[in-house]
């Protein structure tokens, strides 16, 4: 479904070139829920933007559904970290969720309305259709963003640290929501996070990124049961093992081979 081959991204700054991503290669199969973790500043957001077609890589390519990504492709939806800034403040919740669907002329209004309602119900926001995003709490706003993404009926859902700016309890609820949606809708999810616990809890597989300039440090298969919940899964010894392993790898990645930024 999604292939990243030899991705490289170099930023041309004022006087120096910053090699944010050196070489990333990995695959995400259809229906997977894969988490990307890495130390701060390892270019996770850059990577996600390249995959989403919002940023052109310096070298390498992203292949989606067998075709290379040169701009935002059809069938991919993104949920950004800054939910406050990604929802349109002049549109109601309902209008926000409906907006990406307006482009699809094949859909008629009734059909669009149905998709919007289902999406909002799926994230548990059936009764705030006519509110404005800024009238809602942070967690609810992020749910709206998620609803917008799934109403779009994408094949791949890209999530860029979506719960980083949300409080811990809300985060737990939203994590469960994502797993639930994933199982129900069969959508492929690529979830970027800096929270190791979250990555292990959510993913079938965790891709650990090195520090900048970034490469894939390791891919860890999460062999926890398919049915997960906050209380029991996190108490499992296997969870602690996996978590510990990932944490270790990241610490190594932080201290390990760090090539200085290319100057000149």
């Amino acid at each position: 479904m999604l292939e990243v081959r030899g991705l490289k991204k170099v930023y041309e700054g004022r006087q120096r070139r910053v090699e944010a991503i050196r070489n990333l290669t990995f695959t995400v199969d259809a229906g997977d829920l894969v988490c990307l973790v890495g130390p701060s500043g390892c270019g996770k957001t850059t990577l996600l933007k390249c995959i989403a077609g919002l940023l052109a890589p310096t070298a390498g390519a992203v292949w989606f559904g067998g075709r290379p990504v040169t701009g935002p492709p059809e069938g991919m939806a993104v949920v950004f970290q800054e939910y406050g800034r990604s929802l349109f403040p002049w549109l109601t919740v309902r209008a926000n969720v409906e907006l990406p669907l307006r482009r699809r002329r094949k859909l008629r209004r009734a059909e669009r309305a149905r998709l919007v309602e289902e999406a909002l119900a799926a994230v548990g926001l059936a009764d705030v259709h006519h509110a404005y995003p800024w009238q809602l709490s942070g967690g609810m706003q992020q749910r709206v963003a998620i609803a917008r993404a799934i109403a779009y009926q994408p094949q791949v859902l890209l999530m860029d640290e979506p719960f980083a700016a949300v409080d811990a309890q809300t985060r737990a609820e939203l994590e469960d929501l994502i797993r639930d949606l994933w199982r129900r809708l069969g959508v492929t999810v690529l979830f970027v996070t800096h929270d190791i616990d979250e990555a292990v809890y959510l993913g079938q597989r965790v891709i650990i990124l090195s520090a900048s300039p970034t490469v894939v440090a390791e891919q860890v298969t999460v062999d926890l049961p398919a049915q997960r919940d906050q209380l029991h899964t996190r108490a499992l010894p296997r969870f602690a093992e996996l978590r510990g392993h990932v944490y270790e790898q990241i610490q190594l990645a932080k201290r390990g081979t760090r090539v200085p930024a290319v100057t000149g």
């Binding site: 933007k49 989403a52 077609g53 919002l54 701009g71 935002p72 059809e74 991919m76 939806a77 993104v78 950004f80 800054e82 800034r85 990604s86 349109f88 403040p89 002049w90 549109l91 907006l99 990406p100 307006r102 482009r103 404005y132 800024w134 009238q135 779009y152």
Partner: protein, 258 residues
């Protein structure tokens, strides 16, 4: 009920007190230039009859509306265009800032060269003077659209028309409204000045005529009327602004309280 009374009291208290002071202090005024308020008010009622309003004030307001609308339409359209392309903006910004810095009334003699002294001239003067804040604020508004929203629009593959309609124009609207507000005061100033300079009818012309013929109470009444019109237009503007930018005011309130 008490709340309404209290609010009305606060709103009207000082104005009424000031009017009373004005009335009383000028009651026996022998000063030629500062007649008693009573005289002024009487002149007001006598001068500004319905006929006169129709003959002098209506054309002024019509020209104001036409000039302002012209400035608005052209200003916003050009602003959207210029603001959307970085190189065009960089190219034109100093030129536009220069034109904006020219005191609008100074344009009156210049435009008189081209357009004579009729209707068209005044409308053109108003439009040419008022367009700059609209244009520059629109450009600024387009420029400061939130990056995340732009990314979101691109990620969801919104076409250029949809982007304009759902993203750029609404995002820029608070800034555009600021420009429109400044343009309104400039328009009023130009309406008056262009008539004082060269006209045969209109509010500004009438006031100057009164001043030249030393009809002082009438002149004062004209000033009052002008002030009243300015006030009413700004109230009208505020009402429209509150409707159009309801979302923005709500957003700012939510941000401030968090």
């Amino acid at each position: 009920m008490r709340g309404v009374l209290r609010r009305a009291g606060l709103a009207l208290g000082l104005p009424i007190a000031l009017l009373a002071v004005w009335w009383i202090s000028t009651e026996d005024s022998q000063n030629f230039y500062l007649p008693p308020l009573r005289t002024i008010l009487r002149a007001f009622v006598e001068t500004w009859t319905l006929d006169r309003l129709r003959a002098d004030v209506a054309p002024s307001l019509a020209r104001l509306a036409a000039g302002y609308a012209l400035a608005g339409i052209v200003g916003v359209t050009l602003g959207l265009l210029i603001g959307s392309f970085r190189w065009i903006r960089a190219l034109l910004e100093p030129v536009l800032e220069f034109f904006r810095a020219i005191p609008p009334p100074v344009l009156v003699p210049i435009i008189m060269l081209f357009a004579g002294i009729d209707h068209t001239m005044k409308i053109v003067v108003i439009a040419v003077g008022a367009i700059w804040p609209i244009l520059l604020n629109t450009v600024e508004g387009v420029r400061s659209v939130d990056e995340v929203l732009v990314d979101t629009s691109r990620a969801f593959r919104l076409g250029p028309v949809a982007r304009l309609r759902y993203l750029i124009v609404p995002a820029a609207s608070p800034q555009i409204v600021t420009g429109l507000r400044q343009a309104l005061s400039i328009s009023i100033i130009l309406m008056v000045i262009s008539e004082m300079f060269a006209s045969s009818n209109g509010l500004g012309f009438t006031i100057i005529e009164f001043q030249r013929s030393y009809a002082i109470p009438e002149m004062w009444s004209g000033i009052l009327l002008l002030g009243l019109i300015g006030f009413l237009l700004s109230v009208l503007f505020r009402v429209v602004e509150n409707r159009v930018l309801a979302w923005y005011h709500g957003l700012r309130r939510a941000q401030r309280s968090s």
